[in-house]
């Protein structure tokens, strides 16, 4: 032993740790009980003299939580509205100083590093916090809390790539989570798939995450299926159920939504998610006042709940209370500047107020955040159209179609725009694409205006003397109620003209010369000219 003094150190320190743990065991147990009873100050008091790492963490953590609790209590009876933003966790500064001392001395373990990071983040020092979290993760890779905190601080993919993270299986979870957050859904889904294949097939967490990812890319059916599966496996789950209710809402599945709401109320009615679900439920039943009420309740439970602000804005919009809607959306933006729905909602509000130029700014913001979302592009296009900026409007509609139009409206609008501008070839081309698009997607959309398209195409072909195509369109027109008469009329016209042509007329060359003029059949390539 004397010959290898160096070897003894770890063994010694190990036993030191154990010794410390043993010494502090009583105090720790006592404090833990107090801690569980939410008597943080009391817990901290009894841990003061302890020297083991565990006790130290609990000591500091109790102090932190005590500060947070006092902060929350203070907000209730502050001296006035001005103090609203000024109530602070007074313990933070002291905690930070103590922790930073220990940090420089290298005495922090994974948990205390995590706490240090949290403190830094609360003090608005994101850069330092990121460093500390990364360090904490290296020290204790399996602590998901630290990963989650880190995920809140990562704002873009470059930053994510620049982090040096430990190569541990949990890193895959983190990366998948980050990809979902950063709207890189494809990568996220791939990661989750890999994780499932690697043996996490039964994890409800992964299923829910995949469902959320599908929700983000508006793949509603997939997401619904996954959520249903999730509910079967984990019937008392409340997490993510607000997303589920959003999906049900979009699909207008009233009974399912009602069932979900009732179910969740039974489980726990004072949860943010539950309130959101009920809000959605009322909204779907067009009881917007009640819906707004429940969203407000959700916000009371958690003022930083972003979704609720936006949803409340939507409800106010439904109630035509524009100013309250603007307020709600602004709050949502305050919580998260990158919330595209709130920006979009603000744009809609101003559009309702008939301020197309004003709302452009908001739509642009929303578009910036979701460059490949057709809804923003269509909204932008509509605003430009109202401002008689046809060139810009065309660009927007075409781009909306190119990125995959969700509502299948962009082409129709583009076609109508061309029609207005007397660009008949382009209009016909767009109508054609539109019809193809509608039929290829299979399901029948409510607002589909196939008849309009067919009617226009019929007239177009007729004018260009392509009678076969024209008659085909006219026949298809007859399938629709609103265009039946016109279809028949067109058919009659066509047969008349055909009769004239077939009877040898005096002027034999007229039709020939007409046929010789090459009718411009628009190729899809032409449309590319106005892609931005």
């Amino acid at each position: 032993m004397a010959m290898f003094p160096g070897l003894n150190v770890p063994a010694n320190s190990g036993s030191d740790h154990e010794m410390e743990d043993a010494q502090d065991l009583d105090a720790l147990t006592l404090a833990k009980s107090y801690f569980d009873l939410k008597e943080y100050d009391r817990a901290a008091y009894f841990l003061k003299g302890c020297r083991s790492q565990k006790a130290y963490f609990l000591y500091m953590y109790s102090r932190y939580l005590s500060g947070e609790k006092k902060k929350d209590d203070e907000t209730v009876d502050s001296l006035g509205p001005l103090e609203k933003g000024q109530v602070r966790n007074e313990a933070l500064r002291e905690l930070r100083v103590e922790l930073s001392k220990k940090h420089t001395a290298g005495e922090l373990d994974g948990f205390t590093l995590y706490l240090y990071g949290v403190v830094l983040r609360k003090l608005d020092l994101p850069k330092e916090a990121v460093d500390v979290f990364v360090e904490g993760i290296h020290a204790l890779p399996l602590h998901w809390g630290a990963w989650l905190e880190l995920s809140n601080l990562v704002t873009n993919i470059e930053m994510l790539k620049s982090l040096s993270l430990p190569d541990c299986w949990i890193k895959d979870f983190f990366m998948a989570h980050m990809y979902t957050e950063l709207q890189m859904i494809k990568e996220a889904l791939q990661k989750y798939q890999n994780l499932i294949e690697a043996g996490f097939s039964k994890s409800t967490y992964i299923i829910s995450q995949i469902a959320v990812a599908y929700h983000n890319i508006r793949d509603i059916d997939q997401a619904l299926a996954l959520f249903n599966e999730l509910r079967e496996q984990d019937p008392y789950r409340i997490d993510n159920m607000d997303t589920f209710s959003n999906l049900l809402y979009v699909k207008s599945m009233k009974p399912e939504l009602s069932y979900l709401a009732h179910n969740l109320v039974e489980i726990d009615k004072y949860r943010v998610e539950t309130c959101c679900v009920i809000g959605n439920y009322y909204s779907l039943r067009s009881q917007h006042e009640k819906a707004a009420l429940y969203f407000q309740r959700a916000l009371k439970l958690n003022p930083r709940c972003l979704g609720a602000w936006t949803l409340m804005g939507h409800e106010y919009m439904e109630m035509k209370n524009t100013s309250a809607a603007i307020q709600a959306y602004r709050h949502a933006i305050e919580v998260n500047k990158r919330d595209y729905r709130a920006w979009y909602g603000l744009g809609q509000t101003y559009e309702i107020l008939k301020m197309p130029f004003y709302c452009l700014y908001y739509y642009r913001k929303a578009h910036q955040l979701r460059p490949n979302d057709s809804r923003m592009l269509v909204a932008l296009g509509e605003s430009y159209e109202k401002l008689s900026q046809q060139a810009e409007a065309k660009k927007c509609y075409w781009r909306a179609y190119s990125v995959g139009d969700v509502e299948k409206m962009a082409l129709l609008k583009l076609a109508k725009l061309h029609e207005q501008l007397n660009e008949s070839d382009d209009a016909a081309q767009c109508y054609m694409l539109y019809i193809q698009d509608i039929f290829s997607c299979g399901e029948q959309l409510e607002h589909a205006e196939v008849s309009t398209a067919l009617r226009y195409l019929g007239q177009y072909y007729f004018k260009n003397k392509l009678y076969d195509e024209a008659s085909l369109c006219a026949q298809r027109c007859c399938d629709y109620n609103d265009a039946r008469e016109e279809g028949k009329a067109l058919l009659r016209q066509i047969s008349q003209v055909r009769d004239q042509i077939e009877t040898p007329s005096a002027d034999l060359f007229a039709p020939l010369s007409n046929n010789n003029t090459p009718v411009r059949r628009v190729s899809p390539l032409n449309l590319i000219s106005f892609t931005p």
Partner: protein, 764 residues
């Protein structure tokens, strides 16, 4: 009574708010003051001073304790000491001391004979205060006390005034030991705080650390906004102000006005993104606060919507996005029309013609309409703004001078009636410009001085007088140019220096003086014949004003004998100017073209151009340009061999030139006159002809005068010409000594200049 006062301020702080206890501790001192005022015997003048202090204290922004004590001390040191003592008692005592204080306050309902009577200012304040205090819950009272302590100790923590009384300092130390758990703890905390200060520099370096109270914030915003408007240099630097605003918004995100100031601040640094963002944010917030009246009428948020769109239009206009501005303006007009808001519509209309003007199209009709409507709706500001705009357009389009002056006079009456000081300034600046355009430098100078020496009608707030408007910039630029014309370059550089300080390069009006500075430098170099120095300035001028830049380029090219290029540029310039109806420039271009013709001895081709220029100048009453044209004409005639005629024409122009024109022009006119006289006298160089001696002598006088002017400007080339002619004249008069002297001077200058002298005959 001392207490009353403190209490007071508490409530007045935020009367709307439940309890009004936004930052109570800040005002406690006021109450203390009142108490002490009544409690102790004070001499009458002191009492009067204190009474006068009450209102500002109550309505003004929150002070720090140090500031407060200082103000009171100035009035009555005795009271100040009493207040301090009282505060000290409370802050270093216990909670019960504060409670005792409140309980001893004479309630306004019992006190009949004091200032605290219930309907007095003080009484009202006290009632507010007591009410607010009684409403507080236990924990709130405790918090109040804590904040009082903090307020008090923060003053003494950093002894900035150097007047910390020993008594207090001692006490507080003692108290520390008693209040805090252990001394060690306390020390620890302070020690802990130091590293924080270093790392959290951003929060500690700012002028006002931490959150501001409502009043402080409002005061801060009002002050900064006022400074931004009136004297930008005294406001915080853009970055510092931004930081301050961010800080404010962090603690109080609902403070809409801060967003507006943010918008103004971003405009300062020409940040379109941030300014648009802040502007929209402000109006989003405003819509919330103006929520009460949901109607679309004058009140309510319909109104702010209209003005939001209008403001957006003005924003785009400022950044030169005319199409965007147009769209936003149309939107504002449409909404205003829908809700029958004539005032807003009127504002829109005035923006509309401004926009049209900026786009370079004729907007006279629009402006006239705007003026009529504004007069109809009794909006004097907009009406006379419209008239001023009309005057400006009229001046460029050659309206008769007396009409313009009449219009300006009428609006001036309106301005004085309504005390529209801003418009008075603009009007003066405009008169300066118009006189200058007409070539009446004395009048112009007088008007400029009038504006600069006028004391503004605006109240002088924060020790700043309004003096960074566009009007001031314009007038100062004119002043600089006028001095430059007289060759007073020292004064010019002083004026430019002042302009630079007053309107830093990043500000809105900085381009005015930049262009003016460049023009003056250019002229100076040209006069001194340093063409190589003038040339680089052309690029800078072009960046600020394209037409001006082209003209100057042509001048430089002409001076270095690259006539063809110069001619091309002049042609191009003339076409463009005629399109935009820029008469002054057209005439100047014509004169330059005529000069080019001279160089190729095409004197007869120059004549029609000059006559055309003369007609134009007369039509637009541009006297200075007219007399310059006459100079050119006379020279052409001289060259064409009709010196008598030239002399006649010249006589017509000499008077205005001597009265109003630049020194350079005076010199040229004199030189030309001398040459005409010589020609009339039948004087021929190198030949002892029968010269008229009397005329020759007067020509000599004229030459001397010209020499005086040229030497004033250090214009050596011209001086050389003058000496040459002088030498010849002297010789012909038989004055050999003088002749030799002049010849020697000529020789010296010729050596210095190196460039061969162009034939005297070839230039004006």
């Amino acid at each position: 009574m001392d207490q009353l006062h403190r209490f007071f301020s508490y409530c007045s702080e935020n009367p709307k708010v439940n309890g009004g206890f936004s930052s109570p501790e800040e005002r406690r001192h006021d109450t203390t003051l009142l108490y002490e005022m009544t409690a102790s015997k004070i001499t009458l003048p002191e009492r009067r001073r204190l009474n006068k202090l009450i209102l500002p204290l109550q309505q003004g922004p929150d002070l720090t304790l140090g500031q407060f004590l200082k103000t009171v001390e100035e009035c009555c040191p005795q009271t100040a000491y009493a207040v301090k003592l009282r505060l000290h008692e409370m802050a270093d005592g216990e909670l019960k001391d504060m409670e005792y204080f409140f309980s001893t306050l004479p309630t306004p309902f019992t006190a009949f004979d004091t200032e605290a009577y219930k309907t007095s200012v003080v009484g009202l304040f006290m009632r507010h205060m007591l009410l607010a205090y009684n409403k507080l819950s236990f924990s709130q009272v405790y918090k109040l006390y804590k904040s009082l302590q903090h307020y008090y100790h923060s003053h003494y923590a950093k002894p900035m005034d150097g007047q910390v009384p020993a008594l207090v300092a001692d006490d507080s130390e003692m108290d520390l030991t008693s209040i805090e758990d252990t001394v060690g703890d306390r020390v620890d905390k302070e020690e802990l705080d130091t590293p924080l200060h270093e790392s959290e520099l951003r929060s500690d370096n700012t002028p006002s650390r931490g959150p501001l109270s409502q009043k402080q914030a409002e005061y801060f915003l009002a002050r900064q906004a006022y400074l931004l408007k009136n004297d930008e240099n005294k406001a915080l630097k853009p970055a510092a102000l931004q930081e301050e605003l961010n800080n404010m918004l962090k603690f109080n995100p609902d403070f809409a006005e801060a967003h507006y100031l943010n918008y103004l601040n971003s405009m300062r640094v020409q940040d379109i993104f941030l300014s648009a963002h802040s502007l929209l944010h402000y109006f989003d917030r405003l819509i919330l606060s103006g929520n009460d009246g949901k109607s679309n009428g004058d009140e309510g948020y319909g109104r702010s919507l209209r003005y939001a769109a209008l403001n957006l239009a003005s924003l785009h206009c400022r950044f030169g996005h005319y199409q965007q501005a147009d769209l936003a303006l149309q939107e504002a007009i449409r909404i205003a029309q829908e809700s029958n808001d004539h005032v807003c519509l009127q504002h829109c209309l005035s923006w509309l013609y401004t926009l049209e003007q900026m786009k370079g199209s004729d907007s006279t009709v629009l402006t006239e309409d705007s003026v009529k409507m504004a007069a109809h709706f009794c909006l004097p500001y907009l009406a006379s703004l419209g008239i001023q705009s009309l005057v400006q357009q009229g001046a460029t389009q050659g309206k008769t001078a007396h009409k313009l002056m009449d219009a300006l006079k009428d609006t001036d009456i309106l301005h004085w009636k309504h005390s529209l000081s801003e418009l008075i300034e603009i009007s003066l600046a405009q008169t300066t410009s118009i006189w200058r355009m007409y070539g009446k430098s004395t009048m112009s100078l007088q008007q400029a001085q009038l504006l600069l020496n006028m004391s503004s009608l605006e109240p002088v707030n924060f020790g700043v007088q309004q003096n960074n408007t566009e009007a001031f910039a314009v007038v100062l630029c004119h002043l600089a140019e006028l001095h430059a014309e007289q060759g007073l370059y020292g004064a010019v550089s002083e004026i430019i220096q002042h302009l630079k300080e007053q309107f830093p390069p990043h500000t809105q009006h900085a381009k005015l003086w930049m262009l003016c500075d460049l023009k003056i430098q250019f002229e100076r170099h040209m006069n001194e014949g340093k063409y190589h120095l003038a040339e680089p300035l052309v690029t800078a001028i072009t960046a600020l004003n394209q037409l001006e830049g082209l003209y100057r380029k042509a001048q430089v090219l002409k001076a270095v004998n690259r006539s063809t290029e110069a001619y091309h540029i002049l042609q191009q310039l003339q076409a463009r100017c005629e399109k935009t109806k820029c008469t002054e420039m057209v005439i100047r271009v014509m004169l330059s073209t005529a000069e080019l013709h001279w160089e190729s001895s095409g004197f007869s081709t120059a004549l029609p151009v000059l006559l055309q220029a003369l007609a134009l100048a007369r039509q637009h009453h541009l006297q200075s340009l007219a007399s310059e044209t006459i100079l050119h004409l006379a020279f052409t005639q001289l060259m064409l061999g009709v010196p008598e005629q030239a002399l006649n024409v010249l006589h017509e122009a000499v008077e205005p030139i001597l009265a109003h024109r630049a020194v350079m022009d005076k010199g040229c006119a004199m030189l030309l006159a001398a040459r005409c006289q010589m020609a009339v006298a039948g004087f021929k160089p190198n030949r002892q002809g029968q010269a008229d001696l009397r005329l020759a002598a007067s020509a000599l006088d004229t030459l001397n005068e010209a020499a005086a002017y040229f030497s004033q400007l250090n214009c050596k080339e011209r001086l050389r010409d003058v000496h040459y002619l002088q030498a010849q004249l002297h010789r012909s008069l038989g004055q050999i000594l003088e002749s030799n002297k002049s010849a020697m001077l000529f020789r010296l200058l010729d050596q210095e200049l190196q460039s061969p002298a162009p034939p005297v005959s070839m230039r004006l």
